[in-house]
Symmetry: C2
Subunit: 465 residues, 2 copies
């Protein structure tokens, strides 16, 4: 290793004598679905991997909304990264925050001023929420990407009911009991359905001054239908199931303002009308599930390599997931604007979903090994197995690719069971699978949600959100 | 109810018509073991109870050290108060922070300026840590009383190993790998034993630059033995078990200074020696398990009623747990300096343990009902069933009162099993019991600790503790 100037790496060479000097150094940034899969695919290969993440855990993001809605505890969906890789001796875990990439010197810089050299770099830094230029909305309408976000939203939801219980003014009480979810993608739909279930089934009987079942759950969507990645028939099924659960869905409704008291919505049903269709919703608990933007690392990479990014800040990668002119840098997952190249077909863009991130992780690892062997890299081909989304109790929609049969589409109870077992299957660790199943079973039969714990000094209405 | 000036109570009368105007209003401050038990004992009785707590959950504090050491998730030992009392219609839960008590007007004031009138008041506000006048130590050596504390300590422990992994300087690395627990009461002993287990059994294999098993776990105690509430023979057993687990116990050692780099300890073995026996321990992770002080509400009550408090700030109560001259106010649990009055025996002081708090809660509820019926109150009698403490894997000490046999004392594996089932038995809720057993079983066989999740933006050594 050529590491003379780098204390952290020099230190590592002292204790990892298993990698001879010629072992290629692989740096993976981010341990989401993409980074995790790339690291696992390199197990037992002749590379020295450093896996950097800002947190100490891999997060199973598809179930994060359940932590936010008090159905699961954080450890049930978060696995310590070190523990996941304890039996992979060619991998070093590093808790760190990457602030820049020097593509010429082949180094990555952390915020504690250490520099990490690499021979191959896989960037899987993911995405964060985007407020479409209105960052001031973030304080009033948190998004859901990290465990920290989930705890924040859990606190806001539970504290809104507490504040309503204390509030004598009926108008103010109603504002505390109006929950607005912005964006009807999978996360927004799941949040809205679960919130309605909490209000109607979990909390009644526990309050003395309010009726939680009277809470209003609004799902506000700018487009003409919910779950736009789904076929139209399933969007319609999802809408019906949302209505049945008590969610009030407002389609073609754009949010133009958010503050501590609520939001302003512009109805876009008739584009030729004037602005008189704007109206105000008094709502003290607002959740942002609308926009997604790539990690700021995308812009860093673009500056460092003169590559381009798309509107969402995602790095436009080559067919083999590398950056034009920099074959040693691959970008995968939600940070990549990637295309799928099925032989004989026109390239298609790859969606920002976890199966795509996992497939890109495997592909990047494979291409990296091909480069080491002196072979040419292969273009990425995305295998789309389908799409599923849950809405709430007994309610989900499934759109599966079943090649001999074509598309398999179903909704309702069996779709919900399918969603449930698919998610448990993909959870990491036997214990977590077991505990999640147990929690779901107990929640299903009792309607209780056990993780209703709010931590900190939240008492006193002054400190309420 | 005479509530004209109190919006919150007026509001409550609107929606709780089940209590006629003459129903006595009972206010219970705090939902720890004492407050919870008092509230439960008043179920179905002709009183209108308001139960105030600063958090939304009852915490099973005996297992809090397991949350701090990543063995359990927070919801496993915290039950939402509202949910516990959903089937007790004579009880209203209020999330609030009591700042003062007006014993003349029979009102309690919250920090949001609401006033709550009462006919009977039970104060069960508990205790917090005391740094013996050195509050500046708190930032370097957190105590363990709330879930917030537990998360803070969990973060410090896990981040110390992360910082050590990154640190090239051997002396600094050793300071990160030196863990100091101050105070060898039950919490200190449990923390030290579990930390040693984590370092020796959970983490090895996960790091590449450090050997976690080389971490030093120090248990520093001012007195001459560990677990001073236990008989001397069991203290000796506990000490042996701690040593076997790899904990370095320093008895007769007083902490005289704590800062970000470590602590100064004064050996008090020979009281006639000069101060030259002081020495410095470089330790980046320090946990405070030494001093306990009553909630500041104790001082408020003393001011409001001219009663006295003891050295720890606990309110000196009458034999019936009421305050001299104020029969409508009872103080219970860790906030009370109470005495036990077994007929024919001299009064003994009641220890600050959870069974005592529970018994006081039941007793206060009973005396309150007697007052309502015009009967005289009864003096409190503490039934001591014994004492148990765990040390770590297969290690515990038990001192049981088994009246026909006298005292039953045992230690080691069977004491540990006894401790384990006793704690599971007293946990609230079937689900929690089951999940805790499951977590313990999986931790026992695999040595893994699943709740190793640290939340927030912890990456980057600048932000390390």
């Amino acid at each position: 290793m050529h590491t003379a100037r780098l204390p952290i790496i020099r230190h590592m060479t002292n204790t990892t004598p298993t990698h001879p000097a010629a072992t290629p150094r692989v740096l993976i940034i981010g341990c989401g679905f993409g980074g995790l899969e790339a690291a696992k695919a390199l197990r037992g290969k002749p590379v020295a991997i450093t896996l950097i993440d800002r947190t100490n855990h891999h997060l199973f993001q598809p179930l994060l909304y359940q932590v936010a809605t008090a159905g699961l505890s954080a450890p049930a969906i978060a696995a310590p990264i070190r523990n996941l890789f304890r039996k992979q001796p060619n991998l070093t875990t590093l808790l760190g925050n990457v602030v820049s990439i020097d593509a010429q010197a082949k180094q990555v810089h952390l915020d504690d001023d250490t520099a990490l050299p690499y021979d191959h770099l896989i960037v899987a830094a993911g995405a964060t929420h985007s407020y479409f230029g209105h960052d001031e909305w973030a304080q009033h309408a948190p998004g859901l990407k990290t465990l920290h976000d989930a705890f924040d939203i859990r606190r806001r939801i539970l504290m809104a009911f507490e504040a309503a219980e204390k509030e004598p003014d009926p108008a103010k009480r109603k504002a505390w009991l109006t929950f607005s979810i912005i964006g009807a993608g999978p996360t927004g739909v799941e949040m809205a359905g679960t919130l309605a279930e909490i209000a109607r089934h979990t909390l009644p009987g526990e309050f003395r001054n309010i009726d939680p079942a009277g809470a209003q759950v609004l799902l506000i969507e700018g487009g003409p239908r919910v779950l736009q990645a789904m076929p139209e028939s399933l969007s319609q099924r999802a809408l019906e199931q949302l209505n049945r659960l008590g969610v009030e869905v407002r389609l073609n409704s754009q949010v133009t303002h958010i503050d501590a008291d609520g939001l302003t919505v512009k109805s876009v049903v008739s584009p030729d009308k004037d602005c008189s269709s704007s109206y105000q919703i008094n709502s003290k608990c607002v959740v942002w599930a609308a926009g997604v933007a790539a990690s700021p690392l995308g812009a860093h990479i673009a500056r460092a390599t003169a590559c381009t990014t798309d509107r969402a800040g995602r790095v436009k990668v080559q067919p083999d997931l590398s950056i034009p002119g920099y074959p040693s840098i691959q970008v995968i997952g939600d940070l990549a604007a990637a295309t799928s190249h099925r032989p004989g077909q026109a390239p298609t863009s790859v969606p920002g979903v976890s199966p795509a991130a996992k497939q890109m992780g495997q592909h990047a690892a494979n291409n990296l090994l091909r480069q080491i062997k002196g072979q040419t890299t292969l273009p990425f081909v995305y295998k789309d197995y389908g799409n599923l989304a849950t809405i709430g109790r007994n309610a989900a929609v499934v759109d599966l690719a079943a090649p001999p049969l074509g598309q398999l589409r179903f909704s309702g109870y069996f779709a919900w069971l399918f969603w449930l077992f698919a998610h448990v299957y993909f959870l990491i660790g036997f214990r977590n699978r077991f505990v999640v199943l147990l929690d779901w079973a107990s929640a299903y039969w009792s309607f209780a949600r056990y993780a209703r714990v709010v931590v900190g000094d939240e008492a006193g209405s002054k400190k309420l959100p």
